[in-house]
Amino acid sequence: MEITKETAPPPPAVPAAAAHGRRGVTRPGDRIFSGLSRGSGILLLVLMAAIAVFLTVRAANAISQDHGNFLTTFEWDANTTPPVFGIAVLLYGTLVSSVIAMAIAVPIAVGIALFMTHYAPRRLGGPLAYVIDLLAAVPSIVYGLWGALFLVPHLQGLTSWLDQYLGWTVIFDQSNPGTAPRNLFTAGILLAIMILPIITNVSREVIRQVPAAHEEAALALGATRWETIRMSVLPFARSGIISASMLGLGRALGETMAVVTVLSSSDKLTAHILDPGGGTFAANIASHFGEATSLGRDALIASGLVLFVITLLVNGAARVIIARRKEYSGANA
């Protein structure tokens, strides 16, 4: 110890002086602000850790008392004795309705974005953007009511048609033809309408960012408008469109009220997406939370955690897709 102390070189004079100088000009305002921002940062972390611990503990408590298998059980009877509940139906319903929503919404949203940026005359673009913003501002419970009162009865025809002509695919086969379409397919369509604005708006901004030079490169080679879009615009905007879709998917996965109102929930898991029944994580939590016992609530928390993990995985996958094409992204062009 003593030796180290003796051989340690004396601190260089200049930096010390500089440090003094810097300390000399620190203003109280700076100190207060830096303290405040550091404090709120720490507070946020503590808060998040507390939430995570709370949720995990409650979820673990519920799962340990489950008399069914949490992953494979179809029923959600968490208030009975013994409690039997599982997420199989919820997981399936959440994924299927979101996939349907994405399959419908992404192509339409990209199409609208391209129309607004490349095809529409300018005086049409403005009103169109306004209408889409308006769609985004509609509360989801209003969508849910509209879905239940308008969409469900009006989809009856389409459902019968799909059953009749595409029934051989199994997916579009209705076990009891003519039942009201309070099914995952309808929920998917409603979700598609709800996530359309966000995907459209973000895609449109991304497409606007495509440098004119890239489009002119294609045009000067004799590309038509559509070829230009395919050669220059879409490749450049690709990762941005993926991010936009993920934002939409995140909303579709977690959407609650709209699904509660159009889906006649049941613990049925079937490949026939036109058969009524099924459920999603968010809708299940909303409809069971009111009458749930303490264990029932913990069970719902556990299902919410699963939804959270799925959302994380989806975002991670999107990041991987985007990163894999980074070399070609045009960021270095």
Partner: protein, 258 residues
């Protein structure tokens, strides 16, 4: 096949702003014509009217005639997309397709024209890259993205892309202004070779470059900011640089401009 360009009474507008006024000139096949003139006099605008790229700009509008041999590019019923397939263009900033490999960049125009046979594509891509003096530098990494090349290489890649479709005319808008002197020389040499096959029009701010590469030189000028640019004179390059017939040209070339 290299073709003659015959421009008469051409004016171009951006909305209500007239950028160039009543330009007439002839460009001979298999020759290099240089456009010089102060910034904003409409050189780029004029160049872009020669392959109907001007009308891509919102509000862009053209009056007058551009004959390619005997075909009026602005005739009714002429498809601008078809025009751009026969009149190639190289831009000021190299703009390879960033998401495409080097090979696909060169093949892009061929594929647009309907050539999809692999062996044929391979041949033409190699020929074009050789034609652009880039083959030796990239032959081992044809599948790497074009955006990974240096600026000078990217510009030669863009030239390869433009000549791969065998255009009648090649338009170049300041193709060397973003490049170092060595890359610039490489491209100037290339222009000398390409003029055996193509009609070439090049915009440049570099007098020495105009003198080195071009057979004829056109001087553009504008009376005042906001006024449309006009063609002052076009003549053999030697004459423009030694004994121009208009005083303004001599002032510009000798740096006594403005």
């Amino acid at each position: 096949m290299a073709k003659r360009i015959d421009v008469s009474g051409l004016s171009a507008y951006y909305g209500s702003h007239k950028a160039i006024d009543d330009i007439s000139m002839t460009v001979e096949p298999r020759s290099v014509t240089a456009f010089i003139g102060p910034s904003g006099c409409g050189k780029s605008t004029f160049l872009r009217t020669l392959n109907r790229m001007h009308e891509v700009t919102p509000g862009g509008r053209v009056e007058g005639k551009v004959l390619l041999d005997d075909e009026d590019l602005y005739g009714s019923g002429v498809d601008p997309v078809a025009v751009r397939r026969t009149v190639g263009m190289v831009f000021q900033r190299p703009n390879p397709f960033p998401t495409m490999s080097i090979f696909d960049n060169v093949a892009a125009g061929l594929r647009l024209n309907g050539t999809h046979k692999k062996s044929q594509l391979n041949d033409i891509v190699e020929q074009s890259l050789k034609g652009a003096n880039l083959w030796n530098e990239v032959k081992d990494r044809l599948n790497k993205p074009g955006s990974g090349l240096s600026g000078g290489q990217q510009q030669r890649l863009c030239i390869a892309r433009a000549i791969a479709v065998e255009p009648d005319v090649l338009l170049m808008d300041e193709p060397c202004s973003a490049l170092d002197p060595i890359s610039t020389l490489a491209i100037e040499d290339l222009i000398g070779e390409l003029k055996e096959r193509f009609t070439i029009v090049i915009v440049t701010h570099n007098m020495q470059q105009a003198a080195r590469v071009s057979d004829r030189t056109a001087f553009f000028n504008l009376a005042a900011v906001g006024q449309p640019g006009k063609l002052i004179e076009i003549d053999e390059t030697e004459r423009i640089f030694s004994n121009p017939s208009v005083q303004a040209t001599e002032d510009y070339i000798s740096g006594r401009f403005g």
